[in-house]
Assembly symmetry: C2
Homo-oligomer: 200 residues x 2
Amino acid sequence: MAEPIDFYFDFSSPYSYLASEKIDALAGRFDREVRWHPILLGVIFKGLGTLPLVRQPGMHDYSLRDFVRSARFLDVPFRMPMRFPVATVAAARAYYWLHDRDGALARQFAHAVFRAYFAEGHDISEPSSVLHMAALLGVEPAPLSSALEEPAIKERLRKETDAAIALGMFGAPWIVVDGEPFWGADRLPQVERQLERGGF
Amino acid sequence: MAEPIDFYFDFSSPYSYLASEKIDALAGRFDREVRWHPILLGVIFKGLGTLPLVRQPGMHDYSLRDFVRSARFLDVPFRMPMRFPVATVAAARAYYWLHDRDGALARQFAHAVFRAYFAEGHDISEPSSVLHMAALLGVEPAPLSSALEEPAIKERLRKETDAAIALGMFGAPWIVVDGEPFWGADRLPQVERQLERGGF
């Protein structure tokens, strides 16, 4: 099997959510695995001095429209959250802690977080919400709750975000196939071409 | 026949060039005409306080890569110009002057300008280059040359750019189908969906 695809995302990014619903199946058609990497997009924006799309001049209304249309185009359930964007540090830390214990469970958790936020209108930013989402998958709250404040898990998320920055990530999702970076759910057809032909 | 599609673009915008090679055929499949509107994207950026993608923090190298890949993906010849972006005021004025005389010729001229710049490595910013490109299509240089400085033509381009701003345009290309705006050559599949179903 060829090298895995790297999928960098923030749980508060609508286009990351859309890509999250498609990327494993797409990669699977080419016998590829996907490594999921939740990171903190706010840290990246701060480093670059940039803003989320919805806060860029002139782009607010268009972006909201494009989220909805893009979701329908990809046939993914979507409802714009009332609070947006939100902090995703607890969800991202929880992901890595779960991943070190059970990769498949971490993947299920990531889907649950994205869907809770972008399809079901739930909060995902509070640690209590994160514990609740994990509990629905059978994860005991107490050890996860302490894990969220462990230095090792904090450091893990910092390292993943730093790795994304080193790869040139400036927006989400950021998908790397054999060294070739693709930005945005709208680049999934090009990711497919890359997987199919090994280049452009 | 239903209402025409409006296609707002700048001759110096790579994604506008890519869209320009596809939009008429796409619209034609749904019995639609396309109204082409060259505008000055720099004026729009200045009004918003924004920058071209290649000058946005972190986006330079990725954008250049994405131009090339997107062109290959759409099967459009593309070579990144040495000088980029360039002033397109003369080309845009020439377009409107030609359009008032011969719509089909203006369309040919627009294709010639885009291809000269993005496929053949020629300058398109100097009035002399614009006159040369028009001459290759049989347009006499002298009347076009004076037209480029006529107040009515200057005003026409200003009005078209103002209209684009009023429509919410913040980037190019900007494609409006039945009141629904789409930004970018990568939204052509969504434009197609809009044409096919009349909505999302």
